[in-house]
Symmetry: C2
């Protein structure tokens, strides 16, 4: 039985592993998507100390650091089920997709979040054929094409700015008239000549045959209720990945995040959370806050295994 | 009037500045000790992504990042007084030691903490003449000498390990029989042949003439109540630097830290806190938590200046 299993290969998970490693805990870190959401950041400018670094490069640095310790094992794969073993507080059993079972005395859920879908006609049909949920990951496939980016937060506005470096034209479609994004990124989209704002507008349907040809909208733009586009990047927020901790009975807060206290403890003894999935850090989901939470969770696991709370 | 004044040149302050800069806020960051407590870390192994980096090098990276933005000014110097200007919520006035006055609409206290003193005879007298509060900073002046490191936490145990690389002999004097330090560092001191543990022992007096010659202890060690040493490194914890925020009426928690809510707001409108000085992050004072808190505080300042809470 491992001392601690950390589920999730993002900044929170890797940071937790760095700390549990230094606490000399026998650590396993598990995940199916290496680097988590951070992989989709084309340009990271807010990780302290790195003026400008690519998301995948930053994730690699975290990973290399975590795996530099002898007492950290990385298991690639998807955890399907999590349950308690033995008496309360004795430990947890994780069942992998391939049937393997991993047991650990404590668990840290650093499962992050998944991209929200719109649920409009054509969205699922054209997923991967023009519809994508990561503008910054996929923009480079749309060189000299026309794309629509949907949303008004950081990932949408950053995504539009990145896409505009490659695409011929970018429509930034937002249901409100103001963006929630960082002013840094709002400035960037304002500087681009090939980004057109389509505000007060909702997407109704993704149109196409073999692949995407257009986006139907609820408010005519330049006299048409269809934007002629080759790609639709849906960036309308994310949903905390709480399926596994919910199997254990972990409670959520009113925004659907795993409810944690200051020590990153969930309501289940021995189960902790860190990063985007948690209710911590005032719901401010950043690399910096994920790192902070990962270190706190690890510290709490260490206390817990020493017989503290 | 600046949008925000950040007091403190440590990880929390620089991270807050990186974020307020990206929020396009006119930012001033002020402090008299560049790099704060981080400068005294000989070897940092827990800043995610840097397997092994010297404290001053890490602090330089933070600083370079913060100053890479046009809208961040650094002012070197000590803030002596802070007061409110105008009506509630209108802003703050900072008076520098040299008489300069800086005004800002919001303030973030990232003032960190100061080393705790023991208050024993000889301590003040020999301060700087053999008594020091930063083992990792000053150990290198004690090549082939004998030193005592006092304390049982991270900085004491790390300090003893670092000192042992240079000094002939290191006594690690601790009033308890167990160390509170990270197991990583406990392993390091256990590996050194030239570190001798002096446990269940309190220091009573620093002895010497022109400079330190010994440390009087309350429990005889090898038959003597004096350790013959050339240096005494006092690493018995730190005290949050709350003088300035207390001038404003900011409340403290029961451990003497600035009381903050999840958004890093103090009880004074427009005044925020981040890093070691704050009550946040479950009192776990790390680079990672300081960075998390700095970014949350900046985000909260941005909301506040936009007319939110």
């Amino acid at each position: 039985m491992k001392d601690v299993a950390i589920i999730g290969l993002g900044c929170a998970g890797y940071t937790a592993a760095i700390y549990t490693a230094r606490y000399k805990l026998d650590t396993v870190i598990i995940g199916d998507v290496e680097g988590g959401m951070g992989m989709s950041a084309a340009e990271v400018g807010n990780w302290p100390g790195e003026i400008d670094i690519k998301g995948p490069d930053l994730m690699q640095k975290y990973k290399d650091h975590a795996l530099s310790f002898d007492n950290v094992d990385l298991v690639s794969g998807r955890v399907e089920n999590v349950g308690k073993v033995g008496k309360v507080g004795e430990g947890f059993s994780l069942t992998m997709q391939n049937g393997d079972v991993i047991e650990a005395k404590a668990v840290i859920f650093a499962t992050g979040s998944n991209k929200r879908h719109l649920g409009i006609p054509g969205e699922e049909e054209f997923s991967g054929k023009g519809v994508t949920y990561c503008a910054t990951c996929d923009a480079f496939f749309y060189r000299d094409k026309t794309v629509a980016v949907l949303g008004g937060g950081d990932s949408a506005v950053e995504g539009a700015a990145i896409a505009a470096q490659v695409a011929k034209k970018v429509y930034l479609v937002h249901r409100r008239d103001e963006f929630r994004a960082e002013p840094f990124w709002i400035d960037k989209v304002n500087e681009k000549d090939n980004i057109e704002f389509v505000l007060h507008t909702n997407a109704l349907e993704v149109l196409g045959e073999q692949k995407v040809t257009g986006l139907k909208i609820d408010t005519p733009h330049n006299g048409s209720d269809v934007l002629d586009v080759d790609g639709v990047f849906i960036e309308v927020g994310s949903i905390p990945a709480v399926d596994l901790p919910q199997q254990l009975g972990c409670e959520l807060d009113d925004r659907g995040h795993l409810k944690v206290d200051d020590a990153m403890r969930t309501n289940i003894k021995g189960a902790f959370a860190a990063g985007d999935v948690s209710s911590g850090s005032n719901h401010f989901a950043q690399f910096s806050t994920a790192a902070g939470e990962g270190s706190i969770a690890a510290n709490s696991v260490f206390s817990y295994l020493q017989g503290g709370e």
